[in-house]
Structures are given as C-alpha cells and as structure tokens.
Amino acid sequence: MKKSLLLGNEAIAFGALKSGISVAAGYPGTPSTEIIETLQRFKDRYVEWSVNEKVAFETAYGASMMGAYSLVTMKHVGLNVASDPLMSSSYTGIDGAFVIVSAQDPSMWSSQNEQDNRYYGLMALIPVIEPYDPQSAYTLTIKAFKLSERVHHPVILATNTRVSHVRGPVEYEEPSSPIFGKLKKKPDKYSLVPEVAKKNREEQLKRWELIQEEIKQFNEIEGEGNKLIIASGIAYSYVKELAPESMKILRISAPVPLNKEQIISALEGVDEVLIIEELEPIVEMQVKNIAFDAGFSIKIHGKDYIPRSGELTPDIVEFALKKFLGLYYEPKAIKIKDIPPRPPAMCPGCPHRSSFVDIKRGITLGGLSQTFFSGDIGCYSLGVLPPFQEQDSLTDMGSSLGIANGVYRSTGVIPVAIIGDSTFFHSGLPALTNAVYNNLPVLVIVLDNRVTAMTGQNPSPSREIDILQVAKGLGVEYVKEIDPFNLKESVKIIADATSWVKQNKKPAVVVAKRACALEVIDKFEELPIAEVKLEKCTGCTICYDYFTCPAIIPREDKKATIDTNLCIGCGACIPICPYQAIELKGKIPKGWDEVWRS
C-alpha cells in the first residue's frame, strides 16, 4: 500500500489499474482528461485517445465483449456523443468488466452545460457510482469493476470537477496484471437484430433486479436520530464536515438505482429527511417514490432547500443544514462589484488570434458584406470575445458545419464555419460530407494547431492525417492552406475562397495551419522577443486593442510595450502594426520555423 498526493482523476486511473484493465480509451474533455493521461504511463496495456467519445466507448465495449476489463472516459457532454452504444450496452450486457467514466462539470467551469448524467443511468438502466473525494474515487472505481464483473453489465462512474480536480492523500496498491480478452462469438447476445434485442430486453430487466440488490454495499448509514440526511456523492464531503456529529446520515455512493429495503430501513423512525445532492433530484425522486409506496408520511426535503443549478458549496450546504435543524442562520452576502472582468484569453503566440484577424479581413475583401460565424468547441471558442466576436454560435462538438447549413437554408446568408483540427475529425467529417452532398455554400476554416489544445495538448489525428487530402477526398473542390502569421497572403487566399464560394455555391475549405504556441515553447530553452520601437509607435492602439496579445501592454502615453515575461517571440504582432514599429530581437533558435510549421 502506497500513500501519495493524487488528483481524483489519477486515483480513478490507479483504481482501474488495480482492477486489471487491459484496454482504455477516451476523448479529452475537462474534467476527465488526466485519467487517460495517467494510464498512458503504463505500457503493458492498451490505452488510446480515440477520435471521439462514441468510438472510444465502442473500443472499450468491444474489448469487454471479449472478456477484457476495460475503461472509457469522457466529460459529461461526451456521453451524449456515445449515447447510442451506451443504450445498446445495457441491452447486451457484457463479458469481462466495463466501467464508463462520465466527468460532470456543475457550475460549467469548462463546459457548455451542466447536465446531470445520472439521468443516463435511469434511462439506460445502468448503475451509477458517485465518488466524493480522491480516496473514494480510487476505492469506488475498484468496486465498480467488481460490480460490473459480477452482474455482467456496464457501470457508470460519475465523477465531477470537485473530485476529479481535487488533490488529496490517496492510499493505493500496485497495478494488477491486465486482464485481456479471448476471441469469442456470441451473436445471440451482441447482434441486436429484433429477435435478439427482444430477448435481451427481458435479460436486461432481470439484471436490473440483481443490480438493485448488489447496489446496497455502496451506501451506508452513520449515526442516529429522528432527522435523516441523505447525502449523495460530493454532498457527503460537505455534510461530513458541517453536520453535527452523531447525526443520522445515509451516505449514497450509488445514486442509481436505489435499493428499496435499504431506503425503507433508513426512513424508519425518522420524522424528517433532507436530501443533499448536486444538480438534479435523482435521489430525491427515487426516495419519494419508495417512501410513497411504503406508506411513509414524512416530510422529505430536497430541491426546496438545495439549488438545482451550480455546484454545491459549503455555504449552500450549511444554509440547508441549519434550516433543516431549525437553527437561525443568516448567510452574510458580500457584494462584489465593478471589478474588471478577466475571462480566459488565447495565449501569447496562439495562431488562432492571427487566424481571426485574417478571416475578418479576408471575407470583407472577398465581398462578404454580412455573414454568420458558425463556431465550435475548442480554444478558439474564445473568439466569441471582443475584439474578434467571430463565434456567433458554438453549441456542441462539430456543430459549426451543421448549424451553418441551417443558417444558410433559412436566410440565404453565406456562413463561415470555423472548426479546430481535433473537432474536425471528432464530428466535423459527417457534416462536411453533408455540405458537399447537399451543395452548401460555406467557407470552412479549419484552425489546425496540430493538437487538442484546450485540455492540455493531447494528440490530434491531424498529426497523422492531412486535412487537405481529406477535404479533397470528400469532394471539396476548393481546398487551400494558409499560414495564419502570414497576414497578407492569408487575407488574399481567404478573399479568393470567399468569392469562389459566392460564385460556385459550394463549400470551400481553408486550413489555417500553425502549431499551438504551448507546444512550441516547450521545445526551446531560449526564445526571441518582440520589441516596440517607440519612435515609430504612434499609439494607434491596434496591437493591444484589436489584436489583444496578452504580452502587448499599453503605456500611459498609449504607445505599446512588451511584457518580457509573457512574450514568446512568435512575431505574430509584426504584420499587425501598420507603422512597422514592432521588431524581433534575440536569436531565432535552430529549428524554430520547422516546429511552428510542422
């Protein structure tokens, strides 16, 4: 047994290793990414970043069909992409053991919504396990695998930001040998033609009965009294710290499905109940159902005391507890106002900043007087902010092309679809196929920075597969590449592509290719640096107000200066300055250009 400081996600990875996983797949997404990153250090098993969540899911699902122990990881919205095989996996059941990690993001720190994926458990009839700290993330991952193995059914492990991205002491054991599969064929189980599916549906319901029995071991009653607190997942961490000692608490680590007898026995002798859970009333609905059927007439509080939106905080839990215990408590509200906002920004040297400048100038020159910037998910989502404002919508992975189609069909306005390289392969491909197939006049800009950058420079298929060739192969007739730092040339090509789209009423693809700046600076010891020639600088504000590189700072006299700690010497600002007042100094390291352009 070792004890280390681990991130919740690392603890999940070690739990999976201890369980003997042999195949793991995932698509990066906050807050799930570090699970696969940790597993990749272990070379005696197969671990991959898949092209999207659906393929990742099927990879792990397929492995479990062969009897392997497998894991798939994704962020909560990723499970929407994988929901098709998710539903089937519950019908077929599995051999081996199969755990699905869905990392939720209440409060939407890094997501487009805060959907509660415990609903997927209720819908698909798949048990949901919910850890409450890094140590429980480790232990419950192991228990999830054991459950899956015993009942031959997939299991969802629903972690969240405040488990996955919390560092804490974790006691854990060395990895077990990987349990791979052996070729076996069971078409009467895994080939879901109607005859098999109908039989599977009955089997699935039988397994669900068994799961309701097995699930008891995940939940536990502590303390006693005539008031009961039911705390699900992360809520337990807050309750444990804030509730009076010896209070009766039912800790729920498996909110789906609840066991009827266990809930009834917890409710016996109790006058009033408070259910604390994040987001949706999943436990509350089930407890109320059970209580009603069993004839209890006691007051059950839940979402009347705990908000349905946002993550739990100690303040929220304390307020609910005090109210429940009849104690007076007035939360002290501190008004914080007039603080300059500080949203995240594209990094110094980010090629997307230059691309956004190129696009705006290019389409204007190409004669597109009005357009709709159909955006997508990635670092470039930040293009929604001023001064760029070139993401008029961004709704889900790969949405740029589909939404663009709807915009054009309903308005006749030619849209510009902006999509990153990883997102392009994730789910942009079918939408681009559709654009060719249905003749959509759209200017597609693929921002190809060679990585899945937002989640921490995870690899992207663009390193192996040439997007230009893919677009040509799909039948796109106008395909060109630009270097976003080359302002003049890029504007010219985008303008040309724009007029081509207008004329031909077909899609054109322009690939803006340059490496993620974070990838580049990792590879060099010493960097060049930009310098503002003050005698040439007129204080026009373009570099810091219309280009907004974080390393360019306005002086009191409005002239620009360079923050030497932030500047990475990329030179992207040089063509932006209309007065040629910015120059590079310092030595350009060997291989500099090759790395940027690789």
Binding site: I334, C379, S381
Partner: protein
C-alpha cells in the same frame, strides 16, 4: 486538529496550481491531510483562477472563509473577497495585470488597497523580490515564504518544503523570508 484554509487567487499562468500542489505535497510528507481544489481547462488560459487549499482534518474540497487569501495579482483579491472576513489575512502581490479584453480600465493598486481598507492586508512586491532572486517566475514562491512565516509553518516542516524546491526557487524563498521577517519586526 486545527484547520487552515488558504485561497490562492491569480491569473492563469502565474503558478497558482503549482503553489497549491507544493503546499499539499509538503503537508502530506509532514503527516498532515491536505485537499486542493483546482480549476483546469479553459479556466487557466490567462483568465482569473483560484485554488482552494485546506489543511488539517478536512473533508469539504471548497473553502467558506479563508484564513489566508493570497493574491498573486492584486485585482484577484477583490474578485475573491467573498472568501474573506475580518479575521482573514489578505496577502497582496503589488501587481496589476491588464485583462486581455480591449479598452478595459484596470483598477490601480492604490484603488485596490483603498477597497481593502477594512481588511487585514499584507502588501508585498513579490515580483520584485523574485527578480532580485534571479527567477522572475518565482512570484508564487515569494508568497509561499510569506504564508509559511504567517500560518503555514504550524502545519508543514520547512525542511520538507525546501526539499521540494529547486535551487532557483530556494533562493527566492529565502529572500521572501527575509522580507517577511523584516515586515513582522517593523510591525
């Protein structure tokens, strides 16, 4: 056992997460439980970031009221004031970093200090001390030495902490220590 709640605030890229990690690692080796809640992903790209560090017999990952509110950038102390009360010691790095949004007016250091006048504030030019120590990126380590001197040393051992720092950071740490000792003496 006593608990210690530290909220570290700053701008993504300033070493906010690293600072939390160093404290937690030293705590673990010193035999003290530590929980650190971080925000990753989109949150760290030059945006406002905070990290909750909790030491002692703790379960909740998030802080209600901080014993120490450590701002690596002064504006960020204001943004996180809901975690402070009259008992909180606010450690302020005397740096205002421009938000990347265009045409935005930042508050000056004086304006920020003025808004904090009802709180306990320790103001330190950590950037300058870091540069003096030969490591311009060592601002977070200067703040670490101030935290050690004020509250942290009850929970973590200094030799453990020093063993986790490389030589450059050790130098910065010691310079910071000199500063805070001088400050406490003057007080």
């Amino acid at each position: 056992m006593e608990k210690l709640n530290i909220l570290i605030a700053g701008v993504g890229g300033q070493g906010v997460i690293t600072l939390g990690k160093i404290i937690a690692q030293s705590a673990l080796i010193s035999g003290v439980k530590a929980l650190v809640a971080e925000t990753h992903g989109l949150a760290q790209r030059g945006g406002a970031v905070n990290v909750h560090v909790r030491l002692g017999e703790v379960y909740s990952p998030l802080i209600r009221k901080a014993d120490l509110l450590v701002a690596l950038e002064a504006t960020e102390a204001l943004r996180n004031l809901s975690y402070a009360d009259e008992n909180t010691m606010i450690i302020l790095n005397e740096r205002v970093e421009k938000s990347v949004l265009p045409k935005i007016r930042m508050l000056s250091l004086e304006e920020i200090k003025d808004r904090l006048r009802e709180y306990k504030v320790l103001s330190v030019n950590a950037d300058k001390i870091a540069v003096q120590g030969g490591n311009p990126r060592g601002t977070n380590i200067v703040m670490l030495s101030v935290m050690m001197e004020l509250k942290l040393s009850k929970f973590i051992k200094e030799d453990v902490l020093l063993s986790l720092l490389d030589e450059r950071n050790r130098k910065v740490y010691l310079l910071g220590k000199q500063f805070i000792k001088g400050w406490l003496y003057a007080k």
